[in-house]
Assembly symmetry: D2
Homo-oligomer: 346 residues x 4
Amino acid sequence: MSSSNLRVALIGSTGYTALEVARLLLTHPRADLVVATSRHDEGKPLSEIHPMLAGRCDVLLQPLDASEIAKAADVAMCCLPHGASAESVRELAEAGMRVIDFSADFRLSSVETYEHWYGVKHPWPERIGNVIYGMPEFFADEIKTADIVANPGCYPTSAIMPLAPLVQSGLIETNDIIVDSKSGVSGAGRSPKLGTLYCETNESIAAYAVGTHRHAPEMMDLVERISGTPIELMFTPHLTPMDRGILSTIYVKPSAKAGSVDAAVDSMMSLLRDTYSDAPYVHVVDHLPATKHVAGTNHVQMTVRHSGNRVVIVCAIDNLTKGASGAAVQNMNVMFGFPETDGLLV
Amino acid sequence: MSSSNLRVALIGSTGYTALEVARLLLTHPRADLVVATSRHDEGKPLSEIHPMLAGRCDVLLQPLDASEIAKAADVAMCCLPHGASAESVRELAEAGMRVIDFSADFRLSSVETYEHWYGVKHPWPERIGNVIYGMPEFFADEIKTADIVANPGCYPTSAIMPLAPLVQSGLIETNDIIVDSKSGVSGAGRSPKLGTLYCETNESIAAYAVGTHRHAPEMMDLVERISGTPIELMFTPHLTPMDRGILSTIYVKPSAKAGSVDAAVDSMMSLLRDTYSDAPYVHVVDHLPATKHVAGTNHVQMTVRHSGNRVVIVCAIDNLTKGASGAAVQNMNVMFGFPETDGLLV
Amino acid sequence: MSSSNLRVALIGSTGYTALEVARLLLTHPRADLVVATSRHDEGKPLSEIHPMLAGRCDVLLQPLDASEIAKAADVAMCCLPHGASAESVRELAEAGMRVIDFSADFRLSSVETYEHWYGVKHPWPERIGNVIYGMPEFFADEIKTADIVANPGCYPTSAIMPLAPLVQSGLIETNDIIVDSKSGVSGAGRSPKLGTLYCETNESIAAYAVGTHRHAPEMMDLVERISGTPIELMFTPHLTPMDRGILSTIYVKPSAKAGSVDAAVDSMMSLLRDTYSDAPYVHVVDHLPATKHVAGTNHVQMTVRHSGNRVVIVCAIDNLTKGASGAAVQNMNVMFGFPETDGLLV
Amino acid sequence: MSSSNLRVALIGSTGYTALEVARLLLTHPRADLVVATSRHDEGKPLSEIHPMLAGRCDVLLQPLDASEIAKAADVAMCCLPHGASAESVRELAEAGMRVIDFSADFRLSSVETYEHWYGVKHPWPERIGNVIYGMPEFFADEIKTADIVANPGCYPTSAIMPLAPLVQSGLIETNDIIVDSKSGVSGAGRSPKLGTLYCETNESIAAYAVGTHRHAPEMMDLVERISGTPIELMFTPHLTPMDRGILSTIYVKPSAKAGSVDAAVDSMMSLLRDTYSDAPYVHVVDHLPATKHVAGTNHVQMTVRHSGNRVVIVCAIDNLTKGASGAAVQNMNVMFGFPETDGLLV
């Protein structure tokens, strides 16, 4: 920990994304975790809530007081639930901090869409459409100067990264995209619930929220924002018996322009390789990616295959790292002019 | 074990489907396992190969001698690999036994399709098109008198059971069906291979054989055989970190005849409920099925949901039970006039 | 379901042991589940709480009214938490039912020991020392006529079964026994708690309740009750990332009488084989038992090995079956004169 | 990768410890992986064998030619099996490289003990007793100048670290120590074998090598070497359904000198805290350690508890990191004068 290092505040510290932020910052040469807040565990060491940090982090939990935190830290990583998050983001931003918001509160382009899918009144609607989406592969320039960054959702990351360039290129039909995603259980959070007990999810896979998951509009919104083209997309998430990882199997139809299915596969692989040639975390690979290939890392592996008259794209990320806390550290690096890989080498 | 009970021979005893046959027969009131064969472990107790059977089964492994086995047993459960299986099935059948074949050797309607997908010359092509497919929900009458039954593949069971009646009804478009399946690791067999080591598959999900899996033609063949209508289908299997179970998430488009997507969902649920009202193992449910709901049982759970402009069908089976050994016991029950649930109550 | 069958009431239906009772009764030829109670889910089908039962069990949840239940059922399986259980057991017994109690309320010989370890006043202390412990391998005669049976604890089952005969025989020293047990997560129940969330227990093993677990006094009490000899025993339970199963690794010292360590191992194996020669579920095996060898069954596998100057006993059971619901069905069979294996063949 | 960085050669690259070395070196600021050897996969990229490295490491596999490797690299991490390893270690050392040997070939003090337990003739017996054991917490000074370092075994690390200081202090009896260890499956290596298939080890825990595991003599040898006192120790390893981690539950008796059991626990905690106050990876904690608390890290968590008339020590490490590759990187750091935490911050 160096006195000239960037000072990071963790807002909402008890969940898995918060632990992942703390874990990554342990390896960051230019940033230190100096503040961590919690409503319920004030005064306790963060390492008591997350025993993995025992002996490695001596931050004590404190209440969320925006003006106090703004004195002690430079940037806030806000790991609060949607709805609640927007209020705290506002206070922290108004107290002068730069904020990376893990919630969905500032990801969508439209207040109406947000309120329809999240079922709450947005607490700060003026900023909707005016907060940058934290995917440095597409928005690095805006992130550099952003006061608030909306950190992407986990499932959307796995779908937007392959789909946005393909839609933009015109190689695929835009009205018939199916995203079948499989996520590890950490995506469901750390609050005790029947559905995430070990004996409920272990040795079992199941679809959930079929046709109703809130990440579908986020995928459509961002693909359109990046590519300039509106799309129709069906999304089915599945709870998979593993801690971490998302695998998205994406079914698309090559457009007439793409030629034969085999030619389309080749064009898509080339296009993705070109798009991500300078992205340190995105790997267009020949093998079929498994979530284990990216577990615990900020890396993305994707590939494209032919199947019948369709094209299948497979994309693997770690939901807690590239799907949440790793992306947040990557965004922080861009915001503060650090090398993009600081704290993310593992 | 009663002297009047049906005598069952297990051909190829070292794999997981063989163990599952032995496990189910322990509870069967009218059939006993009396013979078990193995090429490599002759003379050893079956319970040494499968320590779960210790103290519960005293059958010794013997070589595969069809005429000897035909004296000792009435029916053969043949758990050999494809290609090898057809030869043994022929010998056993010609020695006078009724045979249930777990391999793919007699499932398809066409020798050409078989030889194309399996890459071997079929050893008994005369019987192709002349062996009944062992799905009693559709072929009970033929199974009753069959000399040989082709026991269904695991993935095909999970796709054919919901799709065949829907295709037959005309409620869905037949040229744009996507089957995204997730299987437990036991489906990959018990031979030591890098890809099925614990540390390779645990905490990971991956697609495999994208566009090239042999169960795709089996699904298309059987749906056509049952419904009378040819279909186009894309199939993507995934290896999931669990012992048992298959979840198939099936994306279909309602036909014009089906009306709105919501109406289509209702019609499909009704149709499936009617189709399976007398089937003891098939349950059309309101909840989203998980593989754990059917693990270790011969039961099938399926449901239908609306998502965007598509309909999503979710179907869960246990790959080793309804997807293999349970179906075989069910077939045996039908062949020998036993109650269909004998040995399958758990 | 036959009208002459024994009618079983399940008291407290939402947990894993209750589901296991329901699962086993589905295969029982002489007993049917006819009543299931729940405080919170009155009126709902039991199969809604346990979707594994969908289409297989149509019992509706009802409140716990002892006199009503006594009219509808012959025997009660009481799956309530300790303390609460004793009150209901009393009501059910006084209403004329025979009761199998899954809680610890009637297992111990002494009210003082119970109140010390469980921290509650015993609601029916008169019956302490006057309720039979439901281990038919030792107490079958008393169980036949018992009005109330105290169903054994899961860890104690895995320790008492090997230790009681060895202590009785004088082959081991009685004051230096170490029981190191590893249990699947279902042993911790189905109430949502942080400690049993998937992401807390998956990919991790940990000791808990070191020196303070309530099953230690139960082990000592029962070994003494069976063998006539008091013992000193240390017990350490571990939470293991699996649904089911207990493996107990037990370290004992051969007594002077036992001779050399090798001779002691032989004598112990012989003694255990003799003790359990007629017990349908207890298997003294040569291999090292794994919990998978007994998963989902009522079976016990145990063996004895030499290590340094000690003897190591390894014993495997399924905590939900032989460690809870299977033992309860076995007790019910003994109480009502059924074959001991009814409902327990799998 | 900097041209002034230390150049590391990985000898034997296909296993899990090799992958873990590569993973850790990706984060090391002063060392780069520049050579990787494999007998079977010569010419292939290391990232093809370990797809987790895709896009992150471009080293190609080459044959093991000691003189060639000595030109290209400064230090060799030798991940070969015992017996085979000693020969290569000799060649590499004689070619002028400093070598960290992951095998057991140079860990023990006595050729006789090695040949008895490993069942092979030692290929370089002159060096037995003359190679330093790579546990920097005890041997940092010798490691600094060592030509060859014997990297510790995984189980021994989890036992020696708590036991050596306690034996040295005289607080425990030295002739009655029981080490009951639970390991993740990666400890069994990456060669396809029936016993480490997913479906054999998943959902199961079992003891193995009871009384015969080769790590028992290593524990006794090193505790004596560090403490100056010979000990008797019983060791039972268990295969646990998880990728990584070792939890050792160690049963010891306080010596007369230690006073009451409670006083002994306090003295032992103090002693361990003092011993490891400057060790960056060793944490004496109040909570009960779980393997998940140290998974993927080089950290050790240990604690001491009272149970009956015994004391229980619980120690958790990651078998691939502190139990193998992390310790190797730590040793390398000490050998080359780097900060001890380089490459090990996560």
